[in-house]
Symmetry: C2
Subunit: 248 residues, 2 copies
């Protein structure tokens, strides 16, 4: 409030001067490596000033004729080859001064970032190394200092990921067609932490909902009883669509 007031007093003659914007799209792309129980986020190394050589979220400026979502898909497609993914808009960061390319006290162009949140299937995601730029999956705990305000964006995305997992069936977009209940459980554990739920309770809750169907096929992983492979039944899920639903 006080900020706004100050500004009005400071530049009373500039009241009508509209800012010009470049609009960027930045993606927070998550993936879960179930074999190692790690939650990963995709980072790339900046090739240009500012922040040359520093890690950041994959992003791009929006082109003519391109929608925001199109731009988000384009970045993604440039960085990884993947068939199954979930993507939605996250938040728009647009404060003045968030990009050093904005001259500090001039009325030059502003840089705005519309961020998108994505979750991809780790096993089938191929990173596209162009031989020039760095690109890597970073475990969420080991993310370094990022360029711009990207640490903030990432934090925001991480929050969203946890919510999505609890209240929507995103997990099934990111698991293989068939999976064991343990795979599913590991996914949840990796993202939400060890103590989110007991395995057997998680099991019965999910099965009672009725949209996971047992294929009958068994699969053995080393010692121990073989597990059933399940399939997500999109048909059976329809009644739950748009209803509040807890997967915890």
């Amino acid at each position: 409030m006080s900020e706004r007031t100050t500004r009005k007093i400071a530049y009373p003659l500039k009241k009508q001067s509209l800012a010009d914007f470049k609009v960027g799209v930045d993606n927070v792309i998550f993936s879960v490596d179930t074999s190692q129980n790690r939650l990963l986020v995709l980072l790339v190394m900046r090739q240009d000033e500012p922040f040359l050589g520093q890690w950041c979220l994959p992003g791009t400026l929006v082109r003519n004729g391109e929608s925001l979502e199109d731009a988000a898909y384009r970045i993604l497609a440039e960085k990884i080859r993947v068939k199954n993914l979930y993507l939605e808009q996250l938040y728009t960061f647009g404060g003045p001064g968030r990009d050093p390319r904005e001259a500090p006290d001039s009325f030059g162009v502003r840089y705005l970032s519309v961020s998108y949140f994505a979750l991809v299937r780790f096993a089938e995601a191929e990173l596209i190394a162009d031989g020039v730029s760095g690109i890597a999956w970073y475990p969420i705990q080991q993310v370094p200092q990022l360029a711009f305000d990207h640490n903030k964006i990432l934090e925001y995305g991480y929050q969203r990921l946890r919510n999505k997992l609890e209240y929507s069936p995103v997990a099934f977009d990111v698991l293989p067609d068939v999976f064991t209940l343990n795979d599913l459980y590991q996914l949840y554990t990796t993202v939400l932490g060890e103590n989110f739920s007991d395995y057997s309770n998680f099991r019965s809750r999910l099965l009672k909902l009725g949209f996971l169907c047992d294929t009958g096929i068994k699969v053995s992983r080393g010692a121990g009883r073989p597990a059933s492979l399940y399939r997500f039944d999109a048909e059976a899920f329809v009644p739950f669509k748009d209803k509040p639903l807890v997967f915890i």
Copy 2:
């Protein structure tokens, strides 16, 4: 996907041409008239082309040096005088062609809308009529065709309002300092519909949470037993902050 592919093929030489943007902020401002049990949204009449004379959401273009949120507060302050309000970012709409000022097939400037969601206290909200432009509270069911894609934005905001009410204490930002439990119940009923919950259950659930304190003061509204006035105790609410919480 196919859209993006087509575009790449259609304009291969334009690959690097970046769009220039004007960024607008549009507010979905809700208010609840508890005396008439109506959910209202603030609309203004457009004074300029395009869509001259048509109703739309109050909006503005972002000025130099102004953050998005500042712009949102500025619109609000230009249209209504109000002390208590809740405001948060809603969604960013930025597809090409959403504003007729974008020349249809040129590569001119694009118009992007960052929308904000607000809830204000009806009783204390004074509309600012400048004598020129139309401005009005519209019952949500009677909203006409709006300019641009504002009907879509409104729909999105309405959805958010219902979620917010169920999972967060926004209601207390918008009720008077002291209120009866029936006031609170009416607010919920007006927004969520009649059948969201039984009154007595709503009562006990809320009271059990312990952040509503009885002032002891009674108030009589016509016939019937007088009701207690309650106050929202922000201190007592702290432990629930950031915890999942259901107000249904």
